[in-house]
Symmetry: C2
Subunit: 281 residues, 2 copies
């Protein structure tokens, strides 16, 4: 999917909601456990109930891998179901991958070709040659961690780093996540980059927009993790919206009863309506 098609979907649906599919078998209605593929069937029910309110789905690979081969089959069925029934939906493999070049190429092949996701999340620690293999794929998107929504974000991401390493001149010092954003803009096919920026740090969006004014930002942390939608939009939105706001637990676990899909839709609708109001204001 092209970025332009994603923007059109946002305008059409008046929504920039991404629904995170982090299925924990302990948290879904018990009747699913009797089915052959409970994870897929649960995802299918959530997708059926919310696809007109969301522009993106984000299966989290960990929650599939934890169930081994069966989990990987559920992931395959989930992405196929979305691609076949809702090709207008932007799909994100939340996988946080990244390795030396020849290995990153294999991950890109796994998620862009074998599974046919539109995008994948990656980690920046190993630098340019660990990310560029993902960027080489046309109309595929690589969503790199910049400033995450968890507590541990402050361990390394917000440390001041020198503008120029080893030189006495330290005036260029800035936080690591900013350096990550800046440096990534120099990489080949960097127009295929998007970034993860946690909603729990809304005050940072102003600074981030100075560095990447036009990029899409995938924003976790609204809902269960405590971030505010209106704050994120206030500081993070650009002319093309430029935001995908993720909600996982708040939507998919809105109820553990028979009405789980209805409740999931109600939660998604609440967020979509907030988004519609923001887009019109």
């Amino acid at each position: 999917m092209t970025t332009q098609q994603l923007i059109e979907q946002i305008q059409l649906k008046k929504s920039f909601l991404c629904v995170g599919l982090d299925v924990d078998l302990n948290k879904i209605p018990a009747h699913f456990l009797e089915l052959e593929d409970p994870i897929f069937e649960f995802n299918k029910a959530i997708i059926d109930a919310t696809h007109d309110l969301a522009v993106a789905y984000k299966p989290n690979t960990a929650f599939f891998e934890a169930y081994g081969i069966k989990g990987w089959m559920s992931l395959q069925k989930t992405i196929n179901y979305i691609n076949e029934n809702h090709p207008e939906i932007f799909t994100i493999a939340d996988a946080k991958r990244g390795d030396i070049g020849n290995t990153s190429s294999m991950y890109a092949k796994a998620f862009f070709e074998d599974l046919n996701f539109d995008s994948i999340t990656v980690a920046p620690y190993m630098g340019k040659d660990s990310v560029e293999p993902f960027l080489a794929f046309e109309d595929k998107h690589t969503i790199m961690l910049a400033l995450t929504s968890n507590e541990g974000a402050f361990d390394f991401q917000t440390l001041d780093v020198d503008g120029t390493r080893g030189e006495a001149e330290r005036s260029g010092a800035k936080e690591l996540y900013k350096r990550v954003l800046e440096t990534s803009k120099t990489w080949k096919n960097s127009e295929n980059l998007m970034y993860v920026v946690g909603a729990t740090k809304a005050e940072y969006f102003t600074e981030i927009r100075k560095i990447v004014p036009d990029s899409f930002l995938l924003v976790p942390g609204v809902g269960a993790q405590g971030g505010s939608l209106s704050e994120v939009c206030k500081y993070g939105m650009n002319a093309n919206v430029g935001l995908l706001i993720n909600s996982s637990r708040g939507i998919i676990y809105a109820s553990k009863e028979a009405d789980f899909a209805e409740k999931a839709r109600a939660e998604a609708l609440k967020i979509q309506q907030e988004m519609e109001a923001i887009l019109q204001s």
Copy 2:
């Protein structure tokens, strides 16, 4: 496996060789492609030919995921084959995972419980709460990226960071990878940590050993990537050896002909003999 058991194996085999299993179907002898599970059969042949010379095997998850469900089945069969036939071997899932706490818990479950690996590689960017869920597993080991063997290592890992963020006092500035090492020592169950340090940067081992004198270091980059075994040992070895030297392509692709297993063994033997000489010196 406990660290003590790993040390005993190193002493017994006079080897601290780890064989990386990065199977690319384009690089293995053609007759494997006619078998039902070429990746597993190739790995099995490599393991059969080298298990007395190596103390560890490191399947690289990307090379399995690239083949989808079939690839995940090959991974399962490979780890089961090692665990059943060579329980004395230390197994490493080279997966470079890391995410918010509840997600990292799922990855830990996937690799430590479902697949029963002894260890997994993880990325540090998301900090403490992205790594601690892995550390909570007894007699399992979490191998965190510190200084990697690729060019991109210099993009962020070697940037100077301030000792104390936001304070005028900048005398504590040091490279990010050192800060990662230091900080990780304060995490819960940090005794379960090992670190990835690339062989291509042998001169860095002296500094690294000042911070983590007792930890095991997993060292890629000897062979195909150009690092020197003797240099790494000179600066990186501790009283318990404390090193696992990985070779992937140099061993498993020593030949593409019918003699591939023999040639792989010859390459592994060459390295083991160098290691034996170093251990006796």
